[in-house]
Chain length 410, copies 2
C-alpha cells in the first residue's frame, strides 16, 4: 500500500512555530483556552489547514475541523488533540497531535492520493480546563457528556462566559458539535510518563485510560507532650495516618490494587517538634484502568478506616473526585500495532494515567491513542521533551493508520 | 517523728491566688519571666515568705530564697520550682512546687518545731524560657552551666536584657547565685504526663529526667505525574519519609529504642493530590533517660538514612537540639518512697520527659523530684489540672521528706 509520507522537517518546524505563541522569558509557555494567545494559535492552524487544501469548519463550542476528501455526509476518519495549555507548559502536550494531523492532510495533498472516506483533523476547545472548568470541554460536548448550553455558560473566575470569549476571539462557529461524529478516532500524544523511555520502546499503543478515585482523609487522635507520653498511651494521629498511607501504597506496589496509589498531600496538627500529633489530614489518588480494581481499593480504604475507628480514632473520609476508566477499541489498537510493526518500530501496549480528548470521543465512536516517549517522563513543565526522530516516527505511524482506515471498505 | 502539718485549704487557696495574676478572659494565664505579671507573682511569694517568718534573699540572676532556721553558713535543705509560665498556661506548672515550699515554711513556724539545718525554698528565674532563652536560666547559673554575665546579657526579641528587666521589676539581687548550694534538693511538680493517672498511682518518685535528641530530616526524591508514573519507577520522597518515620516510632513502641520517639512535624512538596512527592521534610524527637539508648537511636537513624541514600534519595540530616539525661540521687528517691509508703500513699518510680530546674541543681548537689497526677496528662494548657487531695498529699510528702533531711545527723 502507498502511504502519504510526512515531511519531518516541516512537522518539527511547525511544532516550534506554534510553541512561540505565548512563550515566556523564563522558559515554557502559556496559552490558556480562548485567550489572545489561543486565538493566535488557532489562526496559525487554520492557515495550515488551508495550505493543505482542507476545508475548515468551526462548531458552536469552538472546535475546529480541517477536512479533506470524501463526501461531507460520510462519517470521517478523525484524528486530533488540543492546542490550549496549562500555565508555563511545555511545547508538545496536545500541539504534537494536532500538528501531526495537519501534516497528514498536507502529505495527502502532496502525494496525489485520494482517500475513500473524508479525513478530519480536530482542534478541541479547552482540553486543559485551567481557565474554564470542566476540562475536555470541546470533546465533552461532542460526546454529550455536558449539554452545549451548559458548556457555553461556564465562566472564568472573573465572570467571562465561554460563549462571550469564543465570540471575542472569532471562534463561535455555526455547526453542531456532533455533526462530524467519526467512523473512527485516533489521537497521537506524548506519553507524559516514563514507561516508554524506561523500557526503550519507541511507541505505546494505548489500550486504556485509567479511571481515578480521589479521597481526603482526616484522622483525629489526641495531641500530647512528646516527652511525657509513653508510646502505649498515645493516640498519635500522625502515626495512624502514615501507617495507613504506607499500607495503601504497598498494596499498589505489590499487588497492583489499584494500579497506582499516591499520597500527594499530608499535614499534621499542631505540627510542633515536641507534640504528639492530634490531627493528620492527607489525600489519596487511586488510579486503575479496571473500575473493579478501583472499587476494591475504595472498599479497602473504607475497611482500613473502620479499623482505625475501632481503635478510637475519629476519621472523616471525603470523596474529592471520581472518574470511570476507558477501554479503547481493540480493532484500532491492533491496527496501530500492526502499522508500527510493519515499519519496524518497537512498541508495547500501554495504559494512560492522564486524561485526553479521546476519552470523551470514545463514547461516540471506536477510538484509540498512540504515545511517543516523554523524556524522563516530564510533562506540564517547560522541560517537556521528546526526541525529534520519535516525533516524526509517531506522525508517520498515525498517517499510515489513518490512511488504512480511510481507504478500507466498511 | 513529729512532722510539720501542711494546711491544705491555705495551700489550695494560695495556688488559686497566684493563678489570678496574668489570667486571661478565654481561660488560662500568661506570666512570662520578668514581666509586670512576674513581678506581681514574686511580690506575692515574698509576702508569704515573710508571713511564714522566713528570711528572704534575692541573688544576682533574680532567684528568690525564703530561708528558715539553722545557721546561714550551713548548706540548706532546699526545695523550689518556678512561677513564670508559657503563654496561656495552666495554674499548676511550677507554681505548685513553690507554694508547697511556702506552706512547708509556714507549717514549721506554726508547729513550734525547729530544724537542725536551714530549710530554703527557691523561686528560680525564667524556667520556661519563652521570653528569654535558654530556659532554666536561674538554675543554670547556680549549676554554672552558663556564666552569670552571659545569663544577664541574654535579650528579649525586642532587645531588652535580662539584667535591665531584673532591675526594672526590682529583683536584681546582691548575693551570688551559688551562695546557697544545698546539701540536698527536692522539687515537687505535676507530672505533665498521663502515667500516674492511667496507673491509678497517687505519686511518682522521679528517678531520672530523659535526655533528648532532636533531628530534622529532608528527603529529596523525584516529583512526577501521579497517574502516569508506575509504582516501581517512582522515587517518592513522601513514602520514603513515612516509612522511615513509622519504622523509628515502631522501634520505640516495641523495643523502647529509645523510650519515646515522636514525629511531630511533616511536610511534602509540591503537596498536590496528583503529584508524586519530590521532597519530604520532618522532625524526630528521641527521648530516653539512658544516654546510651539515645546514642543508639541516633546511630539507627543514621544507618536508615544511609540505606535511603543507597536507594538514590538525597537526604539531609540536621541536629535541632540535644540534651543529656539526668539520674537523680538514689538515697533521696528511697527517702521519698519511704515517706510516701509510711503515710499509705500509692507510688511508683517514674522518669520525667519534661525539663525541670532539678535537672540543673542535680549537678550541684544530690537531688530528686516528686510528681503528682496531671489529669489526662494535659499541661502547658488552660486545662491543666490535678485533684485537690493529690495536691495536698504531695505537699505533705514533701514536708515530711524535707523535715527528715533537715533533722537528720550528717
Amino acid at each position: 500500500m502507498n502511504f502519504p509520507q510526512v515531511n519531518g522537517h516541516r512537522l518539527l518546524r511547525r511544532i516550534q512555530e506554534l510553541g512561540q505563541i505565548g512563550c515566556l522569558p523564563g522558559g515554557g509557555g502559556t496559552r490558556l483556552a480562548l485567550t489572545d494567545e489561543d486565538k493566535q494559535g488557532r489562526d496559525l492552524i487554520v492557515g495550515w489547514f488551508a495550505e493543505a487544501g482542507a476545508s475548515v469548519y468551526v462548531d458552536k463550542i469552538g472546535n475546529i475541523y480541517g477536512v479533506l476528501g470524501g463526501s461531507v455526509d460520510t462519517p470521517p476518519i478523525m484524528t486530533g488533540s488540543h492546542i490550549d495549555t496549562v500555565s508555563r507548559a511545555g511545547f508538545l502536550d496536545g500541539c504534537y497531535g494536532v500538528i501531526a494531523g495537519v501534516e497528514l492532510l498536507q502529505a495527502i495533498g502532496e502525494s496525489g492520493l485520494t482517500p475513500d472516506k473524508p479525513i478530519a483533523v480536530t482542534v478541541f476547545s479547552n482540553e486543559e480546563g485551567v481557565r474554564f472548568s470542566p476540562d475536555l470541554l470541546g470533546s465533552r460536548v461532542i460526546a454529550k457528556d455536558i449539554a452545549l448550553d451548559e458548556a457555553l455558560a461556564v465562566e472564568t473566575r472573573d465572570g467571562k462566559s465561554f460563549q462571550s470569549e469564543l465570540q471575542r476571539i472569532g471562534y463561535a462557529g455555526e455547526i453542531e458539535p456532533w455533526k462530524f461524529i467519526p467512523e473512527s478516532f485516533l489521537e497521537l500524544h506524548i506519553e507524559q510518563g516514563p514507561v516508554l523511555e524506561a523500557t526503550e520502546t519507541q511507541v505505546g499503543v494505548v489500550e486504556a485510560l485509567q479511571g481515578h478515585s480521589w479521597w481526603q482523609v482526616e484522622i483525629v487522635g489526641c495531641a500530647n507532650h512528646a516527652g511525657t507520653t509513653p508510646m502505649h498511651l498515645r493516640k498519635d494521629a500522625g502515626v495512624a495516618a502514615m501507617q495507613l498511607a504506607c499500607r495503601l501504597q504497598e498494596y499498589s506496589a505489590l499487588d497492583h490494587l489499584p494500579n497506582v496509589t499516591t499520597v500527594g498531600t499530608f499535614a499534621l496538627e499542631p505540627n510542633a517538634v515536641n507534640v504528639v500529633p492530634g490531627k493528620a489530614k492527607f489525600t489519596i489518588d487511586f488510579r486503575d484502568s479496571d473500575d473493579g480494581q478501583l472499587r476494591k481499593a475504595d472498599a479497602l480504604l473504607q475497611s482500613e478506616v473502620m479499623k482505625l475507628q475501632e481503635q478510637g480514632f475519629e476519621v472523616k473520609l471525603q470523596t474529592l473526585s471520581k472518574a470511570m476508566s476507558v477501554k479503547f477499541d481493540e480493532g484500532l489498537c491492533s491496527l496501530l500495532q500492526g502499522v508500527t510493526e510493519s515499519i519496524g518500530a518497537s512498541n508495547r501496549r500501554i495504559v494512560s494515567g492522564a486524561s485526553h480528548d479521546a476519552q470523551m470521543i470514545s463514547r461516540a465512536c471506536p477510538s484509540a491513542m498512540l504515545f511517543v516517549q516523554s523524556s524522563k517522563g516530564i510533562s506540564h513543565n517547560p522541560k517537556e521533551n521528546t526526541p525529534d526522530d520519535d516525533l516524526v516516527l509517531g506522525a508517520q505511524i498515525l498517517a499510515n493508520a489513518m490512511w488504512t482506515l480511510a481507504t478500507s471498505k466498511s
